[in-house]
Every structure is written in structure tokens, then in C-alpha cells.
Symmetry: C2
């Protein structure tokens, strides 16, 4: 472990660009975690945390061109997408600064002593405190929004937790650049730089989740990698929460009426969503239940036309490209599967988008076709053609957990209520119309879902993502002088609180 | 597995009282879980859930004498304590009915579509839905409040989750009686009886946590048993949340000034807390840091006098009695440990309360004395006498997680702020003055703490205990006709909600 060089690689050529770092040794991981732990008290001040998040956003914006260029060179995601991702990332950092300012996440509840209860209630004052050092595992497919300066880092810092980030090997140079900006932001906010650390290397990642001073972990990646780290987190002498986003099929159901009404638009929309970012979104629609018959045929014609027109794409790395090419070939070879537009290898470094079709009845019972119910990372989707509503229900009942589930129904479609009820247990976000790619960073957002979509009931996007890094503590009978101002009766900071079971009227 | 008889045993004599049931086979566990799962839709209506909880409370109150008699015969906890525990249990059921009525636990957040955002925000509406069938593992030491009709059951039903309860072998008859009352309450509320099931047997408990349709588990018990079930929950193909309360030392720090001011009261108070229920509380103070020197000596004199006067007690079962006798003997044999009042075997079926003392410096570094930092279930506490503040800090830094930590300080004690800061990371409830036994069922309560106190950041007592059995779902762009009334703009149920980032004004 350690000392192995870490190279930045150009996925457009497969060639190494530059050596960025070396993999961290166990000792280096230990030092990073200890330094982060030592910096914890400095993060106790919420004003400083908000300043850190805003400074990080400002510095990233200011270095925007450089960041986008670095990320594009390593990921081939393109400047347009990466400029958008950077804007989303800095907006997210600023949104968490607002969450910190607002203070609702402290979830303060105060019950005054009540001698009339049997037995009497003592004075109880509860709020939430930071868990400790958080390990963040960066994603391959979002070098900014789900990586070094992404949602896990932003929400952990917002909560008051220092972070030690495991860089993704697909974008080590971008990771170093962003980590340097975060450390600079810490300096500007008067914090020790060590509230943010970056380590490289697979073994370093395993070491990190096992470190006794690491209190929680956030992860975005594959089922295999995520489950291994989840298992390591659970097997520790002191287990820690592991909030992993592992994989999602993102089923879409299109009713007969919806297909009949909007076959062309639906086909084009689906093509746009499944090919976005070369199909490398965790919310890519991977399984579409579309009707057999004429309306479904027209939808597929539109889909085929749009997908055929899409340019060959470069995937994040060659290992992923190989996995995609092998994955679609294995799926296409299944009995009854057809490929109206064949996905797979394009040029030496590119892939072609495509899609597969299969009769839905092939998916209603265990068998080799279950492979089609597993996520295939890249620009491919599987359209399962159903004959009856029973077939839809049978397929849905066999699906694992998902980040999203989408229903396309006509206005006043009699199938809609039942299908929405069938989709809700499957996912953390349920869409009626539209496509699941694109995750608004909004307070009501939920980006998570039943396993394997996530390993917990948490979200990694939206205001409530901060809840992952906190735990409640209740003070009993503490005199005002010993209480933090947040829990004092006079509420000097004007925080939203529940007092004696009711929201406290606010003077602010 | 299965078919083995389940006996109710009198701990006062060690004699079997009656055969209550047989252990559940794997098939029986499977049938109970499937029936509970089938009953889920019936629990979707919150009005019915509140009615169920209130009916259960009423039926338990009405059968109070019978319940207390059954529990006393199996646990020897005595009618006074059990009458109090029953009152607490029914109050808890009613408190969760209020939580259900109030609806704040749904944590509703609505963000209206916003076209001015880049990219535009869709309409997002988030609330929390029940996870599914919950497995509840009953505690030995609270046959009511933490068992069949206890907090896990009440909070799971409040959340809309059916429960399959594993009875504790120390009170199978009480468990059957309470389960029958809960099923009767279900009937009265118009629900299928199968929303509550009871199974007996160790193997049945393991089977339960592994069942694919079990979505979460709640547990109160030992570190060994709880960790085994936690590991099984984490190792499932689809891991589930396991909210276990495993064990706690509940440290108490008494400053020199506090001891000087109130030695006598403190000694008597500590004696009362550590002998309560024969020391069989999960919040029993198990380690007390008291000053060396005169004030500490006076405290111990008072403690010794009060403990000597306590009557021999009957423990919950003979296995626990044997473990207590062996545990205190092993601790008392350590170098430098003294027993001013010797704990251990009393009569044939009883134990005597007592306490041990040790110089705190013996606990500041790893060694055989670490045994004193492990919970010893029963009427014993360890008083560690410190010479310096450094010794206190060194001992505290070596403690595992706890349900509670208690500080006794004088008014304006200069040591208080620093010690409170040192105790807060150790526990979920931090007391200033008083004793940790006794857990008010109040909204601001937190009964949980860092591992091994609990296996998650959750509480098993208080309003927020319901959060364990829910997961968020966000609906995106769903037309009003497809939304549940809770998420519609007109808020017909008058629920507390966050709308566009702010609390919605309520007309109710």
C-alpha cells in the first residue's frame, strides 16, 4: 500500500497526462484523520462554517475556467456540462451556508420541567451535534458535484464535521485542485487547513473507513465497491453509519394512454435522458416499461431516430468502456432481446448509444433475463414491452430499490393512481412526467432510495443531507450558565425551536 | 429450532410456573412476517393508527392488575415498580397517538416549481413513509415499557409499520398477555390482528432479523446479543437499519466542590439510583469519579450506609444472578480494588447490593482494570477516586459510548464547563445534578448514545423515536389529483409543513 504513483489519464486517448500524487500509506491516512480530528473544535462555530462554505463557493467560481478545464481533460464530460456542474456545486455550497445560518437542522426541542407529570419531568433540552470526522468517497461521474467539493463534503462541513476525502482515480488532478481551493477557503475563514484532507488510492480508502477516529462515511459509486466499504463500516469494533449511494435502475412506466398521446415526444425525451453525459448518470432511466402494440411501436421509432443521431461518446475511463461494451453484449445475447439501435463500442475510445427491447413477460420470473434488471452504466436502456397491467406489476414487484421511479400517464389516466402506488415503494423520488436525470438542489429534494440505491434512509442532495452527520444530545437539568446559547430560554440567536411540544414564536 | 416449550419461571424460587408457548419455527416466523406485511395497507390511515394506540393504552390500563401480577410473577420487579412502568407504558402509547395526530413527524417539505433557477426547479414534495414490517426485540428488564407494548412497538405502529415482536424469555406470559391486548386493540380500531405478532425463541429471533420482508429492527438488551443481531442485519443481501440499545456504563463525575458541599446527599442519592430495580436499569450509574480525600471519604461513608441498608434483591433470572455474582467477584479481585460494601450472592435466590472503589489512576491506561469500564448488570457501582483533574480527563477519554453521563458540580463551580464539554461526546443525555435512572417520556428526550449505547444515532424514548421507522419520498411534478392530501397546496389536514423553505402559516 502507498507510494504507487497516481496518474491523471485522458479518457479520449487512454494516455496518461501527468503524475498528480502518490497513493496514501496507512500512516498518511492516519495523520490526515488525526489532523482533521484535532481541527474539530474550530468548526464548532456556525458562523465560521457558513463563511467557509461561502468562501469555498467563491474560490471555485473564481477558478472556474481552470477547474472545468482540469475536469474535462480527465473525464471528457465536456465544458458545457462541467460548467453547469460547477455552478450547481457552488450553489450547493451556498445553500448549505444558508442551512447553517437558519439553524433548523439543529432540531432543537426544549421541554421545561413539569412537576405535574407522574413521575415529574425534569428540564430537557435537545439539539444535534456533529458526529466527528467524516470520510467522503468521491464519485467517478460527477467530478465536482459528488466529489471533493460536492454534497457530502458541503453537508459534512455544514454539520461541523471535518472531512477526509478519498479522491476518485478518474479525476485526481481535479480533486487536488478542488481540495487546494477548499483548504484556501478554510484559511480565509480562519480555520485550520486540516478540516479538509485528500487521499488517493484504493487501500487508503479501505484504511479510512476502518480508522477509529472516522465517525461516518459518505459514498457515491458502484454496488460492489460501496457494499465492500459498507461491510467494513459495519464490521468495525465500533460500527459507523455508512451513507452510500450504490446503484439504481430508475424504472419508467409509460401507460398505453400516455404512449398513444405522446409517442414521439416520449421517445425523444427518453433518448435525451438516457444518453445525457454518455449515460453515466446515477439517475439514468435504465428500464422502461412501454406498451406492446402500435403506440409503443411509434414511441420506439421516435426513440430509435433520436438515439441513432447521438454522437459517439467518451466514457469516464477505459475500464468503464470495457464494462459497458461487455455488459450490453451479454444483455443483447439473451433470448428474445433485440437491439433496434445497437449500443456498444464506437471508435477506439468511444461508445455508441443504443437500446434493447424485450417482452416484459421475460422479466416476470427469475431467470437469465434478470441481468436486464441490473444497472448497466453507460448510454443504454432496456425497453420492456408489456401486454397487460399484470405484467407491469409483476416486473415492478421484482425490482430492487431505486433512486427514482417515473410514471408517464395521460391526463385523468385511470391507470395512474395504481401505478403511482406501485412505484412509490421502489424509490426515493417518484416523478410524474419528465425524466429522472437532473436533481434539483432544493430543500424538498430526496436523492436516495431503498437498497441498493442507498445503504441508509438518507439523501445526498438537498437540505436534509446534513442530517447524516449529526446526532442528538439532550441536556437534563443543566443551569442556563452551562447551556449553549442555542438552548437557553431567551433564544439569543433566534433559532427555530420546538418548546414544550410547539413551535416557538420567533421575534426575528 | 422450534417446538421447544417456553416456560414462565419464578425468579424468586427458580421454579417453572407454567408452559406459556412453544418456540416459533422458521415457518411460523415466516407466516407471522407475511401476515404483518399483508396488513400494512390497513395501517396507512393515521386516524386508525392513533385509535389503535389509544385503544391499546385503554385495554392495558383496564387489565392493569392482571398485567402487573403476571409481570411480577416472572420478573420479581415488584408491584409498585410495575404499576409505575405500566402507567409509563400507556402514557407512551398515548403520547405516540398525539405524535400521529400532530403529523410533524411526516417532515413535509414542499418546494414549488421555480423557473428562475438555473437549471429550473421542478415541483418537489417530500414526506416520510413507513419502512415496512419492524422486528422488535423485547428487553429483560422492562417487561412492559421496553417490551411487547413498549416504545419500539408504539413508535413503529405510530409510523405505520406492523410489528413482529420477539418475546424475552424472562417474561413470556406477560408478553402473551400484552400481545393479546394489542391484538384486541387492533380489532377495536378495525385493523387486522396481524399488525402485531409475537414469537418466542432465540432461533426465531435470528430468523426474524434475516427475513426478507422485515424492513427494520429495534432491540434493547446486551452487547453480545445485540451485536450478533446487528451483524446479521448488516450482512443481509439487503441490509436493514438495526436500532439497538446494547449497554452503557453511565459515568458520573463529582467535583471536589460538589462532594464538599453535599457529600451525604450525594452518597444517599447514588445508593438509591444504583440499587433501583436491583441495579437492572440500562441507565444505572456504573462508574463514579469521586475525589480522593476527605469530601470523597464522607460521600463514601454516606453511600456505604445507604447501600448496607438496602434489602437483598431478586434478579430477573438466575443466569443474570450468576453473571452478577461472577462479575463482581472478578472485579473485586483486581489489584487495588476494595469493596466497602460487598456486592454478590445473598440468599439462594437473591443478591446483595454493594460497591467497589479503585484509585482512578488504575483506569488511565489499558490493563486488567479495563474490566471496571464494562457494564456489570446488577446492584453494583464502581467509585474511582481521582487525585487530579488530569486523571478525570484520562479516564473519560477511555470510555465507550453511553446512554447518559452525569455531572455533579457546585454552583459556579469553575470545573463545570470543562467537565460538561468532556462528558458531552460520551453520551446521548447529559445530566447536571440528579441521577440517570428514570427516563421521562418527553418530546425532547434522547435515550441513545454513541456505540455500544446504541447502534445508531436514534432514540428509543421520546417523540423522535418514530423517525427510526420512516424513510423520505419526494414526488416530482405530480398533479394535485395524484398527491396524497398531506402534500396538496390547500393542506386540508392542517399539517405543519415547510413550504418554499419556510414554515407554512397554519389556519388551524
Amino acid at each position: 500500500m502507498g507510494a504507487a504513483p497516481v496518474w491523471s489519464v485522458d479518457p479520449r486517448t487512454g494516455k496518461a497526462r501527468e503524475q498528480v500524487a502518490v497513493e496514501a500509506t496507512a500512516d498518511e491516512v492516519d495523520r490526515a484523520v488525526r489532523a482533521a480530528e484535532a481541527a474539530r473544535p474550530a468548526l464548532a462555530d456556525r458562523t465560521v462554517r457558513a463563511a467557509l462554505l461561502r468562501a469555498a463557493a467563491d474560490l471555485l467560481d473564481a477558478a472556474g475556467e481552470q477547474v472545468v478545464e482540469a475536469a474535462d481533460a480527465e473525464t471528457a464530460l465536456g465544458p458545457t456540462r462541467l460548467t453547469g456542474e460547477l455552478a450547481r456545486t457552488t450553489a450547493q455550497l451556498r445553500a448549505f451556508a444558508e442551512v447553517v445560518d437558519d439553524g433548523a437542522f439543529l432540531d432543537i426541542r426544549i421541554d421545561h420541567a413539569d412537576a405535574d407529570r407522574t413521575p415529574p419531568w425534569p428540564d430537557l433540552r435537545r439539539w444535534k451535534i456533529p458526529l466527528g470526522v467524516v470520510a467522503v468517497y468521491s464519485a467517478s461521474n460527477f467530478p465536482l458535484a459528488f466529489s471533493v467539493p460536492g454534497g457530502d463534503t458541503a453537508s459534512a462541513l455544514a454539520a461541523g464535521c471535518p472531512v477526509v476525502i478519498k479522491a476518485h482515480p478518474d479525476h485526481p488532478a481535479t480533486s487536488e485542485l478542488c481540495a487546494a481551493l477548499l483548504r484556501k477557503a478554510a484559511q480565509q475563514a480562519g480555520l485550520p487547513e486540516t478540516v479538509v484532507a485528500l487521499v488517493h488510492g484504493f487501500d487508503a480508502g479501505v484504511e479510512l473507513v476502518r480508522h477509529p477516529l472516522v465517525a461516518a462515511a459518505g459514498f457515491t459509486g458502484s454496488v460492489r465497491g460501496g457494499r465492500a466499504l459498507f461491510d467494513a463500516a459495519a464490521a468495525r469494533p465500533v460500527p459507523i453509519p455508512f451513507h452510500g449511494e450504490l446503484g439504481s435502475l430508475n424504472p419508467v412506466v409509460i401507460t398505453e394512454a400516455a404512449a398513444d398521446e405522446g409517442a414521439r415526444t416520449l421517445g425523444a425525451g427518453l433518448a435525451g435522458s438516457m444518453t445525457l453525459g454518455s449515460g453515466q448518470f446515477c439517475t439514468k432511466p435504465g428500464l422502461v416499461l412501454a406498451p406492446a402494440g402500435d403506440a409503443g411501436d411509434r414511441l420506439l421509432t421516435s426513440l430509435a431516430a433520436a438515439v441513432s443521431e447521438s454522437e459517439p461518446g467518451v466514457m469516464l475511463d477505459h475500464r468503464m468502456r470495457d464494462a459497458f461494451v461487455a455488459g450490453v453484449a451479454e444483455r443483447a445475447a439473451l433470448d428474445g432481446v433485440e437491439a433496434p439501435v445497437t449500443p456498444g463500442a464506437g471508435g477506439e475510445h468511444t461508445v455508441n448509444a443504443g437500446f434493447l427491447t424485450v417482452p416484459a413477460r421475460r422479466l416476470t420470473a427469475e431467470g437469465p433475463h434478470d441481468l436486464l434488471l441490473e444497472e448497466c452504466f453507460g448510454p443504454v436502456t432496456v425497453v420492456a414491452r408489456y401486454e397487460t397491467r399484470d405484467e407491469i406489476d409483476a416486473v415492478l414487484s421484482r425490482l430492487p430499490g431505486n433512486l427514482t421511479a417515473t410514471l408517464h400517464a395521460a391526463a385523468d389516466d385511470p391507470e395512474a393512481p395504481g401505478l403511482l402506488a406501485a412505484l412509490t415503494p421502489l424509490a426515493g423520488r417518484v416523478l410524474v412526467g419528465g425524466w429522472p436525470t437532473g436533481v434539483a438542489v432544493a430543500p424538498a429534494q430526496h436523492h436516495g432510495g431503498p437498497y441498493p440505491a442507498t445503504t441508509s434512509a438518507s439523501t445526498s442532495v438537498g437540505a436534509t443531507a446534513i442530517e447524516r452527520w449529526l446526532r442528538p444530545v439532550t441536556y437534563q437539568s443543566a443551569p442556563p450558565a452551562l447551556l449553549p446559547p442555542e438552548l437557553r430560554d431567551d433564544n439569543p440567536l433566534g433559532l427555530p425551536r420546538m418548546v414544550d411540544g410547539r413551535p416557538e414564536p420567533l421575534a426575528r
